[in-house]
Symmetry: T
Subunit: 141 residues, 12 copies
Amino acid sequence: MTVLVLNGPNLGRLGVREPDVYGTATYADLVARCEQVAGERGVDVEVRQTDSEAEMIGWLHGAADDGSDVVINAAAWTHTSVAIRDAASQVTGTLVEVHLSNVHAREAFRHTSYLSDVATAVVVGMGIEGYAAAIRFVARA
Amino acid sequence: MTVLVLNGPNLGRLGVREPDVYGTATYADLVARCEQVAGERGVDVEVRQTDSEAEMIGWLHGAADDGSDVVINAAAWTHTSVAIRDAASQVTGTLVEVHLSNVHAREAFRHTSYLSDVATAVVVGMGIEGYAAAIRFVARA
Amino acid sequence: MTVLVLNGPNLGRLGVREPDVYGTATYADLVARCEQVAGERGVDVEVRQTDSEAEMIGWLHGAADDGSDVVINAAAWTHTSVAIRDAASQVTGTLVEVHLSNVHAREAFRHTSYLSDVATAVVVGMGIEGYAAAIRFVARA
Amino acid sequence: MTVLVLNGPNLGRLGVREPDVYGTATYADLVARCEQVAGERGVDVEVRQTDSEAEMIGWLHGAADDGSDVVINAAAWTHTSVAIRDAASQVTGTLVEVHLSNVHAREAFRHTSYLSDVATAVVVGMGIEGYAAAIRFVARA
Amino acid sequence: MTVLVLNGPNLGRLGVREPDVYGTATYADLVARCEQVAGERGVDVEVRQTDSEAEMIGWLHGAADDGSDVVINAAAWTHTSVAIRDAASQVTGTLVEVHLSNVHAREAFRHTSYLSDVATAVVVGMGIEGYAAAIRFVARA
Amino acid sequence: MTVLVLNGPNLGRLGVREPDVYGTATYADLVARCEQVAGERGVDVEVRQTDSEAEMIGWLHGAADDGSDVVINAAAWTHTSVAIRDAASQVTGTLVEVHLSNVHAREAFRHTSYLSDVATAVVVGMGIEGYAAAIRFVARA
Amino acid sequence: MTVLVLNGPNLGRLGVREPDVYGTATYADLVARCEQVAGERGVDVEVRQTDSEAEMIGWLHGAADDGSDVVINAAAWTHTSVAIRDAASQVTGTLVEVHLSNVHAREAFRHTSYLSDVATAVVVGMGIEGYAAAIRFVARA
Amino acid sequence: MTVLVLNGPNLGRLGVREPDVYGTATYADLVARCEQVAGERGVDVEVRQTDSEAEMIGWLHGAADDGSDVVINAAAWTHTSVAIRDAASQVTGTLVEVHLSNVHAREAFRHTSYLSDVATAVVVGMGIEGYAAAIRFVARA
Amino acid sequence: MTVLVLNGPNLGRLGVREPDVYGTATYADLVARCEQVAGERGVDVEVRQTDSEAEMIGWLHGAADDGSDVVINAAAWTHTSVAIRDAASQVTGTLVEVHLSNVHAREAFRHTSYLSDVATAVVVGMGIEGYAAAIRFVARA
Amino acid sequence: MTVLVLNGPNLGRLGVREPDVYGTATYADLVARCEQVAGERGVDVEVRQTDSEAEMIGWLHGAADDGSDVVINAAAWTHTSVAIRDAASQVTGTLVEVHLSNVHAREAFRHTSYLSDVATAVVVGMGIEGYAAAIRFVARA
Amino acid sequence: MTVLVLNGPNLGRLGVREPDVYGTATYADLVARCEQVAGERGVDVEVRQTDSEAEMIGWLHGAADDGSDVVINAAAWTHTSVAIRDAASQVTGTLVEVHLSNVHAREAFRHTSYLSDVATAVVVGMGIEGYAAAIRFVARA
Amino acid sequence: MTVLVLNGPNLGRLGVREPDVYGTATYADLVARCEQVAGERGVDVEVRQTDSEAEMIGWLHGAADDGSDVVINAAAWTHTSVAIRDAASQVTGTLVEVHLSNVHAREAFRHTSYLSDVATAVVVGMGIEGYAAAIRFVARA
């Protein structure tokens, strides 16, 4: 069983970008944490990041074809992209939406998500531990 | 260190109430799962449930006095009670909001929360595993 | 068969409170009228009133456990309490929402109800005769 | 004393139209039930149906001239016709608004009524028993 | 030159209906006043009233064919009928919208008009003198 | 198999009314084009027009009784008539909503339709060719 | 009896400002027309214009003290000035609101008026003839 | 004459809770200040606090029965409880709404009050001096 | 120490204007009451009134330069003038907003204030006693 | 003459993705149907699909340069992409917007389109026959 | 050629008022910078400031009469004054709207402007350099 | 010091696309004008354009890494892309938002910007001179 961990725009700059909002952990830390937890749970994990909506859509199509579970942090696209929603809703595995920061305590436009109602579960505000929680949930489910 | 797990109205009927929405796990299962995870993490946990807003407010005041961390599923009050928000915002420990079901896929009035922006993190849609994730996060923080 | 007639906050003061809005019939009149109609229809009726949301929730849990039919005038909570909605939606018997006054002709915040869409039927503006109509409907159903 | 029972568009097809929404009782059943209840209460009743707004307005003018009580199910016009509201508000007898189905559990545009605040009372969701309840109320008033 | 004065639903009951809102002048007074003013200005006038939307639409089609000027009090349809707007916008003569009462001081739904932006001028709150003002304006234009 | 083509208010004046919006084709052209396409597809077609809501409702009742397919251009009623929606939703054949002009490029009140979500398909902006497209679709379905 | 005709900001430039919107008649024409109609009706008229809100308020105070009737074209202040509304509502004589252009066919912010519901009558879109109609109405009242 | 000073949820923690918002004065200081001012004005005062909506409703019923004046800081319930509004509107004495902090400079949900329009007067942002001002006003009235 | 008491449009007419809303106390009474309270508290007070927004802005600039405390009843400008808000927010002394009537029980446009969130405190509905309360608060602060 | 048929995100998965919404016809079927109809009408057709907004914009630029007609199903971008609207509005040929499913009967965010008001015509809910209708219309125009 | 630079309320206090928002440059600096840039571009400039709406309107009338170009910082009136909009729209020269601070990063009521859509260009957030940019643009145009 | 001038979708077609909206200057003119002004101010400039959101995000990341100042015309993405906002907010140099046309005088959806509140300054409606103004501002800052 493979879990895809898919990250959207600007997340490659984690640790560089606005550390007061997103913390000092880097993207490499995020990848390492995901692999550590997946290892503990005995599942394969593949962590990817892209700033291209088309690439993200393609990865979701792949997950739909493979029946993979998906942990997705669509970042800014969460609030604006119906195209990613439409791709995500084709996923037949478990889909968990993750956000590093507590989006509910930020700008109003971050309070709505095109993904949440097609996801199984949502985790926000736990930093990279949110990915750990999501992988554990998916591995158990 | 003690973690308070506080549950709001109707949650005492878990497993009885609308199993298609909330699953078949009972409230006793919920308590057991919290105690199991807390045990694994070496923290004390106390799980409570009430249908009385005043009692919930009192528990939050206690947590504020004791500096406890809090995992709260305020259930229906999430969407309507400023009084509980005002009590919760006095908590100086970590505060994690949990919902069993995916509130974003339900009625519109469940999409807003008076707690989320005063909480540290939010977990929805994981069933009782959401409590496990919250306790692990609190225990680590 | 028992019908529970559950009244929410301030209704105990019927006949005392704002007679121009609620009429001069007293709460005792209300109880008597319910018992009279129930007697005519051969059903048991139990009429209760509370200013405590927790108590109302408990009564609805009891009705859910017993499979009772419920006639509910949630008064002010109609417009604000999701907790009572969540308790009411567990009732498997017939649920009829009643209001003494014509709420549609009063303040705008009285035009919305958290109960109506989980109720079977709604009667407003008939004064205590609305309870009679509700009991007759329930007894027939 | 005569009670006019006035039915708006599409109601002539009761029992034919969407039985999952409106039930299997036919329009003839509706008429019969009204007459039965009126008979029990010793009042005359006249049950009419029209798909023409102009005809409905004329009937309301007649009721205003005669001082009749009116039980009205304006159906779709409830939500759209100010002209019928303006005619109904001329009625000096008792005016009861009835809906067969629970409009609050249907599309959002059925949640608003141009009639409710000029009516004395409103009954929804009781099927044809709603007419019975309205006639009894009018006969008593 | 002929001026059509077209009146919508319930206006035939002027003087009967809600005299506190519409005054004690009757529909016959309204017709007489229109004819008097038209006479003073040397124009023909034809005053009509209908409760049928289809009839009103037909009259407006006639006015469009004849190039007549139109004074219209569409009453309740003002706020709800796009069909009458579409018919009125075919009129190539001058179109004046009239209301007896001051609609801006009444219910909110009377504050919007489907006719005003396709009319040349609007007169409200002058009672039947509003018709006189409209006829004088049309006769001068 | 018969296809009913039902046209609402003001459409009888096609070619006369606002040719910059609706084009120079006349209502007779519209009828002829429908008959031509129906002929090509081997279906019967009956094209009607009315300014009376009651008549349109009656035609839809007839279609419901006969199981006919319906092509409907409800014109202004599209945006205002729940009564026609309620009649149209009784049609069990295929229902196609047609508009001559591109309603989305006109006033905001023409952007909402009470028919679209109970129709199978919607065609706007093709002039009378929209009827042709609708008939071909219905004939194929 | 004296009628005050009070004009708000920019109206002094009538005939200069945007003739496509306001016509070619000048402010002097407006004054002359008012005096002519007042003369015909045997009333005194005083026509004033100001770009100063304070001055307009003072004039309305004067009218309140004198019991004068007022014809007011508050121009832009119509849509923004509660202060002028509060002054106008002290007028005990008849108050008629006038606009030269058809404000309902212009920008959305011109569709609301702080004056209309405290005025007796409103006339829009008649150009300077609107003043004539208002003076005639006031003189008759 | 007795003045009831009724405090809602979380106010018992004054001086403990968020001193940057509510100041360093304690609940005991609040009580003392009320008693001091009441003494100066020669009225009795009784200061109470509760986190239970039912208890607050009961106190208001008592005030209604006794004809007492009421100074109420309903805290969070101000923005959410129609039940307390309905109880407060039964008070026939003077009712003054008080808030310690300037609610208008805080979250948007604190800008609306279910009490203000049934109160005689409202004082916000004066800290515990607001209670003093309210008692002086009540004592004078 | 000097306290400026600044009154906006129409307040000079206190006692003349709408006594049912504003009471029978005159503007002279208001001035006298302010001077009396200021005398008791040993502060100087200067009470001014203007219908000119520019003059009010100038007074606030003066207060900002002098470091004066300000009690302001901006009347109608409260709801419409950002210019006065911008001037008021330059005041470094204490700023108290006062309204004679209970604005929350009047028209909806009186429920919003451009001043409240830049003021320290707000007092409404106490008539001229509200000024007394404001002066006492300012004198104590 | 060449007609470009441009398909947006996720449409390449037709027949794979949610067949209950989009039907069982595959993307290859869609291409074949377009080519068949184009052949019947004697026009060239080129059918493309992309998940990349930049590529879609480029295709529209090409159509603008070539003067081609365009049939576009922008899928999810319909509701979110102003960039595609801006590219589409440069097309000087006929532009027809197509949707396979009836978007009006789905989520609210699918009821708005950034393309409709810059398109000539819109066809929804006909499945791949909608493309056929669009090509026929373009070929005729 | 003369450029009028017109400044609205509170701008005379630049450098005094809220330097964290508006910077430390004084109004004299603003005037000097305008004159310097105008000198470099060989145009005359006249810089004025007023807290009186009437005076601002008068200056815009003058500009309209003279055909002058106008650089306007209407400050608070930007968001509230239709009267200044109506005066500004009479200007036939180039009209540039300037704001010192970035209004889009401040309170929501500063995000709307009655001037922007009648202006040629808008510059915000450049401090007094925004005036320089506007003058250069006007001088070039 | 280098200034990046970044242009979003469709801007490569300047001079080709809708010259009535965007003017006749070409994209090459835009580049030349930027280089000319930069040369006058002694700064390096690099002008880029892309229709790919991912490429724009990458350029902003580069600017964030290099500490460059940025002049950005995000075109359509201004109104829809949170991803670009999130990238832009990482820029530590000065960020100026530019639009060629006056967006405030166009469609309502162009009146909101995801960039304005994270930019330092905004210039709209100056055509390519807006870029010149922005570069001068950046070079001076």
